[in-house]
């Protein structure tokens, strides 16, 4: 649609001159011969720009401009004054009345055209900016709503999340793709030396998957005795069950036939005195150990998904952690978040982002990763649950 310009001048020759200058530029032109007609024409036509003479019968240009400013529909239309008055006071008066620019008669065709283009450009950019802002606000609101829902679910599913591990900072983001998710995670205190953390991702979405996640998270509660086993032979009368054993138990409890679901899980035990992590990884994306010096190590040992009935034994790995190291556990919703071309966010981008965010707080890193992931896909809603848990080891180890 061509941009519309309204030319207001009581002098027919001036109108003709201005029309002549603008005619070749594919603008739609409308005219008015005095102040009152200008108000009528502008309110009706809502042009993109007004060229306004100052000295006119009935209403002068300043009055017209002020009147346009008072009306919400016309207040944003830029006005360029065209006047023979050359005193600085007049210019100021024009700009104070709400004019965007001022051209002095006799005018130069090139100058008029340049100023018209500039003002139209500014108006267009302003409009785009307003639109972009609206879109941004809308998206923000939607994300806030999503997060509010996620937070509520999170609260009901994760009553035991314990952020008070000494000298350790924990942060997480959980964005279910539907109102309820198939991902779940927790950080649990086993005894004064040992903490456990796990994250699992049940196949599929929606209520059936969520039911399995709830069931598993209940099973992994310290009170069920799965994570700690009784011993008769040694003090203190219990032992921490090794990660591979825990995964074996899950594999027995959740055969694929039973629920028509399988899941990936990472289970790890942190010895918070000595700074040692033991883990096993059932086909879950490998957690990333971000060392303080910027090296990245993956926690890859493990086996296949839970639910296949022990086809392969689960392998265990262990890592010595140091002060300032950070551990990131996540689901494949992060890696497989797509951009418009259907490209995955992927492991490499995740690693690059982590290196850029190195040195931030654990919350800064977790929020920063989610921001980078969402930016990559233009903030479209994720197709899979997106879950990220970060643990920052701030204490010194023996």
């Amino acid at each position: 649609m061509p941009e519309k310009i309204c030319i207001v001048d009581d002098n027919m020759i001036n109108r003709r001159l201005l029309t002549g200058i603008l005619r070749n530029e594919a603008y739609e032109l409308v005219e008015a011969r005095d102040g009152q007609e200008a108000i009528d024409v502008i309110s009706k036509e809502l042009p993109d720009l007004v060229l306004l003479d100052v000295m006119m019968p009935k209403k002068d240009g300043f009055q017209v401009c002020e009147e346009l400013q008072r009306n919400d529909r016309t207040a944003r239309i830029p006005v360029i004054f065209i006047s023979a008055r050359t005193r600085v006071e007049d210019k100021i008066k024009g700009l104070n009345a709400g004019g965007a620019d001022y051209v002095i008669k006799p005018f130069d065709a090139g100058e008029v055209l340049a100023r018209v283009k500039t003002q139209l450009n500014i108006a267009r950019l302003t409009k785009e900016l307003l639109k972009a802002n609206e879109e941004l606000t809308r998206r923000q609101r939607r994300m806030d709503e999503d997060l509010a829902v996620a937070a509520r679910i999170q609260q009901s599913l994760l009553p035991q999340l314990s952020p008070d591990m000494e000298n350790t900072a924990i942060a997480w983001r959980f964005m279910p793709c539907e109102s309820i998710g198939g991902d779940i995670f927790n950080v649990l205190r086993l005894d004064e030396t040992h903490w456990a953390a796990y994250m699992l991702d049940v196949s599929g979405h929606g209520l059936p998957s969520a039911l399995v996640t709830v069931s598993v998270s209940q099973m992994l509660h310290p009170a069920t005795g799965i994570l700690l086993k009784k011993t008769r032979t040694s003090c203190p009368g219990y032992a921490v069950r090794r990660p591979a054993e825990v995964l074996d138990l899950l594999d027995q409890e959740y055969p694929m036939e039973r629920f028509d679901k399988y899941f990936t899980v990472t289970y790890l035990i942190m010895n918070v005195k000595e700074g040692i992590i033991q883990y096993s990884n059932a086909a879950h994306p490998p957690p990333i150990l971000l060392r303080r010096d910027g090296t990245l190590e993956l926690l890859e040992e493990g086996g296949c998904v839970i639910g296949l009935g022990g086809v392969l034994p689960f392998q265990e790995g262990s890592k010595k952690i140091g002060q300032g190291d950070k551990l990131l556990i996540y689901t494949d919703g992060i890696l497989e978040y797509e951009d418009k071309q259907g490209q995955f966010y992927g492991q490499n981008r995740l690693h690059d982002t982590l290196l850029q965010l190195r040195g931030r707080s654990i919350k800064g890193i977790v929020d920063g990763v989610i921001e980078a992931v969402m930016d990559f896909g233009d903030h479209h809603p994720p197709r899979d649950d997106v879950t990220l848990l970060g643990i920052g080891f701030n204490g010194e180890f023996n």
């Binding site: 303080r292 707080s361 920052g392």
Partner: protein
């Protein structure tokens, strides 16, 4: 501006994110003031997430340092991006604050 807080070796670390300017200066001063009247507070202000700082932001850091040093404590700065670092150097405030590469190094320096 966002401010996260973590403890490293009983040193409080404030991680700042965003612009430290006339709008957010007050927020930082209030945050530091809210940390309590404990004796000899040890504080690290980490600026790895700060992509812009102006003289109002520098003023807030100086005011915070004053608050903390009245109680016998100190503030160390960490994680400065090179643009922010250039402003510290330009205003010679790199001589007033001790500056470290990362929050861990700053916290351990106490």
């Amino acid at each position: 501006m966002e401010i996260d807080q973590e403890a490293i070796n009983h040193v409080e670390v404030l991680y700042l994110k965003g612009r430290l300017d006339a709008v957010s200066a007050k927020q930082l001063k209030e945050k530091v003031a809210s940390l309590g009247q404990e004796k000899g507070p040890k504080l690290v202000i980490d600026m790895a997430g700060v992509d812009f700082i102006d003289s109002s932001g520098l003023g807030a850091l100086i005011s915070s340092l004053r608050t903390v040093s009245k109680l016998g404590g100190d503030i160390k700065i960490s994680g400065l991006q090179h643009q922010a670092r250039s402003i510290f150097e330009l205003t010679r405030l790199d001589r007033v604050f001790r500056i470290y590469d990362d929050s861990m190094a700053a916290a351990k320096s106490f």
